[in-house]
C-alpha cells in the first residue's frame, strides 16, 4: 500500500448487501487475535476454556475432599476450614456485589447475625437447644429477610450512598451486640463483650459434626451445593437479568426487568448465605463475640471477591484460597522463612513483570547476586562490624543470606536509614525511563533484601501486613479484573 500511495485509491464498492460495509470484519479479526494471545498467558486462557465449570467444580471438590488426609488437625482448621468459610462468605458477597453490582459494606453483619441467632437458639445461654436441623433453616430465612429489609434503601440509593448506609448498618450491629446487650428473659441477649459460649455442635438427624474433619466436610458439601446453585442461577434468566441491571439499570427496566425486585432478591440471597455461614462459624468456635464480625473480616471478604474477580464463582474459590493461605502462611507463629521465601519470590516477580523478557530478568538477577557478594566482601575487608550481624533464623537459606546480604552488627539506626533509602530508591526507579530501569534494578533489589533482613524480620507482625498488602498490590496490577474475572469495558 505504502509504495503506491501516489495513486488515488479506487472507490470502495458500495453495494447494499455487500460484505464490506463498516469495519465489522476488522473488529472481529482484531478480537480473534486478542482472544488468542501467545505465550503462557494465552495457553492458560485456552486451558480455562477447555475446563468448563462442571469440570472445575469436580476438580475443586475432588482435591478438597483429600485435604483432611494430608493435613494435620490444626492445619485443617487454620487452612482448610477457613478457606471454605471464606469461600462461602465470598459467594454470598459475590451475589450482592458481583452479580447485582450493589456495594454492600454491611455484609459482615449478616454473617454475625446468623452466628448470634444460632448461638441464642442452640446453646446454654438461654438453655434453648433447638436442633440444627430446625435452627439453621430458621436462621437462613431470618437473615434473608433482614437482607431484604436492608435492601429496601437500595431502591433509591445508588453506589456510594448505599455503601455508607450499609456500612452504618454493619457498625450498628457490632455496637448493638457489644454494648447495648438488652436484657431479655433476665439475661443480656447477646452477652455483651463476653459473647455467647458453649454453642451446640451441628447435628443432623442425630449425627453430630464435632471433629474438625467432620466440620470440614459439612463445609465442603455446603460450598459445593451453593456453588452449584449459584452457577445455575447465573445461567438462568434471573442471572441474565442481574447482569443486565448491573450493566445498565435504566435499559434493564426498559426491557421489562423489575430492577428493584431483583436487587432485593440479590440482597436476600447474599444475606441468606452469610447467615448460613454464620451458623457454621458459631459451631466451629463454639462461641461468638462481636469482634469476629467487624471491619477486618469485611475487608478480607472483599479482598477474596475482588482478587478472584467480581462475578466469577471460580474466582471466589481461588481468591479465598490465595488470601487465606497466604495470610495464614505469614502468621507470626509460623517460621520466619515462610515470609522470607515469599518476600524474595515477590521481588523476582516484580522484576519479571517490569522487564518481561527472560534474558533481561536473568541478567538483573545475576547482577543483583554479584552486587551483593561484592558489597559483602568489600565491607568485610574494610569495616567488619558493618557486615558481621547474625541472620535471624538460620538454616540453609540463612547461610546463603549471611554471605550475601549486608547485616551490620550493633549499628542501631542502619535498618531505618536503609528503609528510607529503599522508599526513595523505589520512587526514583518509577521515574526512570523503562530502558534505563534495568541498570537501577539490581541495586534496588539488593537494598530491598538488606531492609528485609535488618528491619522486617525483627517485626514479623508488621512485616506480615506489609507483605500481604504488597502481594495484593502486585496481583491486582497484573490482573485488575481479578484472577478469574473478565475484564469489563465501561465506555467504548
Amino acid at each position: 500500500m505504502g509504495s503506491q500511495s501516489d495513486r488515488p485509491l479506487p472507490p470502495e464498492p458500495v453495494e447494499p448487501d455487500g460484505p464490506r460495509v463498516g469495519v465489522d470484519e476488522w473488529v472481529a479479526s482484531a478480537d480473534r487475535l486478542q482472544d488468542r494471545p501467545a505465550g503462557v498467558a494465552g495457553a492458560l486462557r485456552r486451558a480455562g476454556e477447555v475446563v468448563t465449570p462442571p469440570i472445575q467444580l469436580a476438580i475443586f471438590a475432588g482435591l478438597a475432599a483429600t485435604v483432611p488426609f494430608w493435613l494435620g488437625t490444626g492445619d485443617l482448621f487454620t487452612y482448610g476450614i477457613f478457606v471454605l468459610l471464606y469461600v462461602l462468605l465470598g459467594l454470598g458477597l459475590n451475589t450482592i456485589v458481583g452479580f447485582a453490582g450493589l456495594l454492600d459494606l454491611g455484609y459482615v453483619a449478616f454473617f454475625g447475625f446468623g452466628a448470634y441467632m444460632y448461638a441464642i437458639l442452640s446453646s446454654d445461654h438461654y438453655g434453648i437447644h433447638w436442633p440444627a436441623i430446625v435452627t439453621v433453616p430458621l436462621v437462613v430465612v431470618t437473615t434473608a429477610s433482614l437482607g431484604l429489609l436492608l435492601g429496601i434503601p437500595s431502591r433509591r440509593l445508588l453506589g456510594d450512598y448505599l455503601a455508607i448506609v450499609t456500612l452504618f448498618f454493619g457498625q450498628a450491629f457490632v455496637v448493638f451486640v457489644n454494648a447495648t446487650n438488652p436484657v431479655v428473659a433476665g439475661k443480656g441477649l447477646t452477652g455483651g463483650p463476653n459473647g455467647i459460649a458453649d454453642i451446640d455442635p451441628l447435628s443432623f438427624f442425630g449425627l453430630e459434626a464435632t471433629t474438625r474433619t467432620q466440620q470440614y466436610y459439612v463445609l465442603l458439601v455446603s460450598a459445593v451445593l451453593i456453588l452449584t446453585g449459584l452457577h445455575f442461577v447465573n445461567q438462568s434468566r434471573t442471572g441474565r437479568a442481574l447482569r443486565s441491571l448491573r450493566e445498565d439499570p435504566l435499559a434493564a427496566g426498559a426491557i421489562g426487568i423489575p430492577v428493584n425486585r431483583l436487587k432485593l432478591m440479590a440482597f436476600a440471597i447474599g444475606a441468606g448465605i452469610a447467615g448460613f455461614t454464620g451458623c457454621i462459624f458459631g459451631t466451629l468456635l463454639t462461641a461468638v463475640t462481636a469482634g469476629n464480625f467487624d471491619i477486618p473480616i469485611l475487608i478480607t471478604i472483599y479482598a477474596v471477591v475482588i482478587l478472584g474477580g467480581f462475578g466469577s464463582l471460580s474466582g471466589v474459590v481461588l481468591g479465598a484460597l490465595v488470601i487465606t493461605v497466604s495470610f495464614q502462611f505469614l502468621a507470626p507463629e509460623n517460621p520466619q522463612n515462610n515470609a522470607r521465601v515469599l518476600f524474595y519470590l515477590l521481588i523476582v516477580l516484580v522484576i519479571v513483570l517490569l522487564l518481561r523478557s527472560w534474558w533481561r530478568v536473568a541478567l538483573v538477577l545475576a547482577a543483583t547476586v554479584a552486587l551483593g557478594v561484592a558489597v559483602q566482601a568489600a565491607v568485610e575487608a574494610v569495616a567488619p562490624s558493618w557486615a558481621g550481624g547474625p541472620v535471624v533464623e538460620g538454616g540453609r537459606l540463612g547461610d546463603l543470606i549471611d554471605s550475601w546480604v549486608l547485616i551490620p552488627e550493633g549499628h542501631q539506626d542502619f535498618g531505618n536509614v536503609a528503609y528510607v533509602a529503599l522508599v526513595v530508591a523505589v520512587l526514583a526507579v518509577t521515574q526512570l525511563r523503562p530502558s534505563r530501569r534495568i541498570f537501577a534494578l539490581p541495586a534496588v533489589a539488593y537494598l530491598a533484601a538488606v531492609v528485609w533482613e535488618t528491619s522486617f524480620v525483627l517485626q514479623p507482625a508488621v512485616a506480615r501486613w506489609i507483605l500481604f498488602g504488597a502481594l495484593l498490590v502486585v496481583l491486582m496490577n497484573v490482573r485488575p479484573q481479578g484472577l478469574l474475572g473478565t475484564p469489563r469495558v465501561e465506555i467504548v
Binding site: G22, D24, D31, F232, R237, R240, G253, I255, G256, T486
Partner: protein
C-alpha cells in the same frame, strides 16, 4: 389514511416540567395499530422526553397515557415494557459486557417465568423455557440477515461496530415481544448505505414483525421513506401533524428548524 384505526397508544394533555423548563406541554398524540409515526423537531424540542414519559422513565406531571385503552400513566418502566412497549435509546444503552445473544435473551425476562428455585433445580419446564428463550433470541437476530450472524452471537456487545450496536438494540427491543416499538434516532451515526438499510428495516419491522412504530428521526429521507404520519414538536408543543409533505412544508415547522428569515433563533 382514509380510515383511522383504533389508537393503540393515546396521549391526552400530557405535560412535564423540569424545574422551570416546560419540556412537554399539553401534548395529544395517537398512534394507531400498525402505523409508523415519526416524531420530528429541532434539538431540545422534547421528543426524547415524550419517549421517556411513554416508557415510564418519567411520570408525567399532568395528562394521561393509555395503551389499548388501559391507563399506563405512572407505571414503572418494567411494567410498561411487559404490557407491550419496547424502546431503543438515542445514546445506545446496550449491556456492553454481555454477549450479543445474551443481550437479546435478557429481554425475554418479562414474558418468561422460571424462578430462582426452579433454576437451581433445573426442572424440565425451566430448561424448555431456556431453549425457547435461546431460539427467540436467534430468531430476532436472524431478522438482521448477515449483519448479526452466528459468529458474533458469542462476542461481547462492546466488540460490535456502531451500526451493529444500533441493530442489536432493535433486536433486543423486539425480544420483549412488544406491540409497539419506540425507536429513538435509529439512523443516527450511520453512513448512507446503512441509513438506507435502516429505512427498509423499519418497514419490514412493521410488515413482517407486525409492530406499531413510533420513531424519532432527524434524517428527513428516512422520515419521508417510512412515515404514515409525521408529528412535529417544538418547545414541547405539537406544531404540526399529518402526511410528510404537509408537515415538511408547514411554515411553523420550517420556522422551528430554520428560524424566520433574517432573525437568528436562540
Amino acid at each position: 389514511m382514509s380510515t383511522e384505526p383504533a389508537p393503540l397508544l393515546e396521549l391526552r394533555h400530557v405535560g412535564k416540567t423540569f424545574g422551570g423548563l416546560r419540556s412537554v406541554a399539553d401534548l395529544d398524540l395517537d398512534v394507531g395499530e400498525g402505523e409508523i409515526v415519526s416524531l420530528i423537531g429541532p434539538n431540545g424540542a422534547g421528543k426524547t422526553t415524550v419517549f421517556n414519559l411513554i416508557t415510564g422513565i418519567y411520570a408525567p406531571d399532568e395528562g394521561e397515557i393509555r395503551l389499548e385503552g388501559r391507563d399506563i400513566t405512572g407505571l414503572p418502566p418494567h411494567r410498561i415494557a411487559q404490557l407491550g412497549i419496547a424502546r431503543t435509546f438515542q445514546t445506545l444503552r446496550l449491556f456492553l459486557n454481555m454477549s450479543v445473544k445474551e443481550n437479546v435473551m435478557a429481554a425475554a425476562y418479562g414474558h418468561t417465568k422460571a424462578g430462582v428455585i426452579r433454576s437451581v433445580l433445573r426442572t424440565p419446564g425451566m430448561r424448555r423455557e431456556e431453549r425457547e428463550i435461546e431460539r427467540l433470541a436467534e430468531e430476532r437476530l436472524a431478522f438482521f440477515g448477515d449483519r448479526l450472524v452466528g459468529y458474533r452471537w458469542g462476542q461481547p456487545a462492546y466488540s460490535l461496530s456502531y451500526a451493529n450496536r444500533r441493530r442489536l438494540e432493535i433486536a433486543r427491543a423486539t425480544a420483549v415481544n412488544p406491540k409497539m416499538l419506540l425507536l429513538d434516532e435509529p439512523a443516527a451515526g450511520m453512513n448512507p448505505v446503512e441509513t438506507h438499510e435502516i429505512t427498509d428495516l423499519i418497514g419490514r419491522l412493521r410488515d413482517e414483525g407486525g409492530y406499531t412504530i413510533l420513531v424519532i428521526e432527524h434524517d428527513m429521507h428516512v422520515v419521508e421513506g417510512i412515515s404514515d404520519r409525521v408529528v412535529a414538536l417544538d418547545h414541547g408543543e405539537k406544531i404540526a401533524e399529518g402526511a410528510f409533505d404537509r408537515v415538511a412544508t408547514d411554515p411553523r415547522v420550517v420556522e422551528a428548524y430554520l428560524g424566520t428569515t433574517g432573525t437568528e433563533r436562540k
